[in-house]
C-alpha cells in the first residue's frame, strides 16, 4: 500500500529486510541462518514509538478519558514524546512533556517543532528532581491525562495487533524475535502474538546496560520493573553494554547500509548471539530484530566516529536507548 488518508494511517506496515552480509555463514549443507531487520524508523516520526503512542491515545479516547482540547502530560525525553506530540497535534490535544534540562538539543527542537510544550526539571537534581517536578505538575493539574507508557496495556496491544502480525505475514518461517527492553511493550505484545502462532518461537530481549551514573539509586528498594513486564513471555534476556551497542550500530551501517540509533546496536548484538548459536548447533534460524529508530537524533553524541573507547566515553552517563 502506498496511499493513506492521513499520516496516522501510515503508522506501521514497515519493511522487513534481509541482512545477507551480516548473517553468519553456515557450513556447506547446513541449514540457513538468516537475520532480518524490521525498519521501525520508517514510521511517521521515525521510531517504533509511533505505534504505542497512537494506540494509547485511541484507547484513552475510546474510554472517554481524552476529549478534544484536553492536555496530555508525559514525562519523557525520548521517542515516545516525539510520537505523542505528532499524534496529539493531529488529534487535537495539547502535549506537555517533562524532561531534564540536559537532554540533547535535537530532542528539544523536535518536540517543539511538533508542537509539544516542555517543562524542564533541573539537570543537577537528576532523576529525583524529575520525579519531584512531574509529581508537582500532576498535582497542580488533576485534569491533565498521563498515558503512562510503562503501565498502559494499549502500548503492548499496539504490538500484539500490528508488529506481531506484520512479522508473521512477512516471515512465516520466523524462529527468533529480538527487540529492546524499555517499557517492555514491544516484547510483550509482539512476543505474546508470536507465541500463540509460532511453535517454539524464541522471544529475546536486549536490555541496554548504561554507565554507572544511570543506576544511581539510593537503595535496591528504589528499583523499578514496568507494570507491563511479564517474564514468562521472554525466552532469554541479554544485557548489552555501551561498547557492544556502538560497535554493532556502526557495523549495521558499514556492512548493510542501515543507519540506526544505538538501541538498535544493542538489539543486533543479541540477535547475532542467537544466530551464531544456531550455526553452532546446526539449526535453521530466521532471526527478526527491531530497528527501533534511525541514527539522526544521536549524531551530536559524536559516537558514530572515532575510536570505540571515545564513543563509550561520549555515551557514558547518557540514556542512549
Amino acid at each position: 500500500m502506498a496511499r493513506y488518508d492521513s499520516l496516522l494511517d501510515a503508522c506501521g506496515g514497515t519493511p522487513l529486510v534481509g541482512l545477507p552480509r551480516l548473517s553468519p555463514a553456515v557450513p556447506d549443507g547446513a541449514p540457513p541462518v538468516r537475520l532480518w531487520a524490521k525498519l521501525e524508523d520508517r514510521n511517521p516520526t521515525g521510531s517504533i514509538k509511533d505505534r504505542a503512542a497512537l494506540f494509547m491515545v485511541r484507547a484513552a479516547e475510546e474510554a472517554g478519558r481524552l476529549r478534544p482540547g484536553d492536555t496530555i502530560l508525559e514525562p519523557t525525553s525520548g521517542n515516545t514524546g516525539i510520537s505523542l506530540a505528532m499524534v496529539a497535534k493531529l488529534r487535537g490535544y495539547r502535549l506537555v512533556c517533562v524532561m531534564p534540562e540536559n537532554v540533547s538539543t535535537e530532542r528539544v527542537q523536535l518536540l517543539r517543532m511538533y508542537g509539544a510544550e516542555i517543562i524542564f526539571s533541573p539537570a543537577a537534581g537528576g532523576s529525583n528532581q524529575a520525579v519531584a517536578t512531574a509529581k508537582q505538575i500532576a498535582a497542580e493539574h488533576p485534569d491533565w491525562v498521563m498515558l503512562y507508557q510503562y503501565g498502559n496495556e494499549a502500548n503492548a496491544r499496539a504490538h500484539y495487533e500490528t508488529t506481531g502480525p506484520e512479522l508473521l505475514h512477512d516471515l512465516p518461517t520466523i524462529t527468533h524475535f529480538v527487540a529492546g527492553l524499555g517499557t517492555t511493550g514491544t516484547l510483550m505484545g509482539t512476543g505474546r502474538y508470536l507465541r500463540e502462532k509460532v511453535e517454539g518461537i524464541q522471544v529475546v530481549a536486549a536490555e541496554p546496560r548504561y554507565g554507572e551514573l544511570v543506576y544511581g539509586l539510593r537503595n535496591i528498594d528504589e528499583g523499578y520493573v514496568p507494570e507491563l513486564y511479564d517474564a514468562t513471555v521472554l525466552s532469554r534476556r541479554f544485557s548489552v553494554g555501551t561498547r557492544d551497542a556502538v560497535l554493532r550500530t556502526r557495523q549495521l551501517v558499514e556492512v548493510e547500509g542501515i543507519f540506526a540509533g544505538f538501541s538498535t546496536g544493542a538489539i543486533l548484538h543479541a540477535a547475532l548471539a542467537v544466530a551464531h548459536e544456531a550455526v553452532r548447533d546446526g539449526r535453521r534460524a530466521d532471526v527478526a530484530f527491531v530497528v527501533a529508530d534511525g541514527g539522526w537524533k544521536y549524531l551530536s553524541t559524536g559516537a558514530y566516529g572515532g575510536t570505540l573507547a571515545d564513543a563509550e566515553d561520549a555515551l557514558d552517563g547518557q540514556l542512549w536507548a
Binding site: 509529581k135 500532576a138 503501565g151 517492555t184 544511581g216 520493573v225 534476556r237
Partner: protein, 123 residues
C-alpha cells in the same frame, strides 16, 4: 581461576568499595554464599527471606539474565563473568516517570490497574 563479580555502586559498601570481587561456586546460589563469607550482608541484599532473587535485582552471567537460566540454580563455570545491577526500567528517567505516576496515579486517570500496581511498586 575464579568467577568475576561486578558490584553496582549501591552495594559497594559491602565490598569495601570494590567494583569487582572474585568468588567460586557451581551455581549462582553457591557463589552468593561464598561471597557472603567475605562480604557479610551482601547476599541478604540480593536474595529474599523466601530464597528467591530480590525483585529489583538483576543478575547476569556472561551478559545473560539468570532468571532465564535457572535463577539461583544457574550453573557457573570458572572464568564466567557475573554482573549485578539494580532494576531500572528505561533508565533513570523511566524510573522517574514511574515514581511520579505512583505518587499521583489514580487521580490522573491512568488505567486504574496500572496505577494501583505502580503505587504498589513505589511503596
Amino acid at each position: 581461576m575464579a568467577i568475576e563479580v561486578r558490584i553496582p555502586t549501591i552495594l559497594r559498601s559491602y565490598t569495601g568499595g570494590a567494583k569487582v570481587v572474585e568468588g567460586t561456586g557451581d551455581t549462582l546460589g553457591d557463589l552468593l554464599a561464598d561471597l557472603d563469607s567475605r562480604h557479610a550482608g551482601l547476599r541478604g541484599r540480593l536474595v529474599t527471606e523466601a530464597g528467591a532473587l530480590h525483585r529489583f535485582v538483576n543478575v547476569y552471567v556472561n551478559d545473560e539474565d539468570v532468571r532465564f537460566l535457572g535463577a539461583l540454580d544457574a550453573k557457573l563455570s570458572d572464568g564466567d563473568s557475573v554482573t549485578i545491577l539494580p532494576a531500572v526500567a528505561g533508565g533513570a528517567f523511566g524510573f522517574a516517570a514511574a515514581a511520579a505516576i505512583a505518587q499521583h496515579g489514580a487521580a490522573t486517570a491512568i488505567a486504574s490497574h496500572a496505577g494501583r500496581r505502580a503505587a504498589g511498586v513505589a511503596r
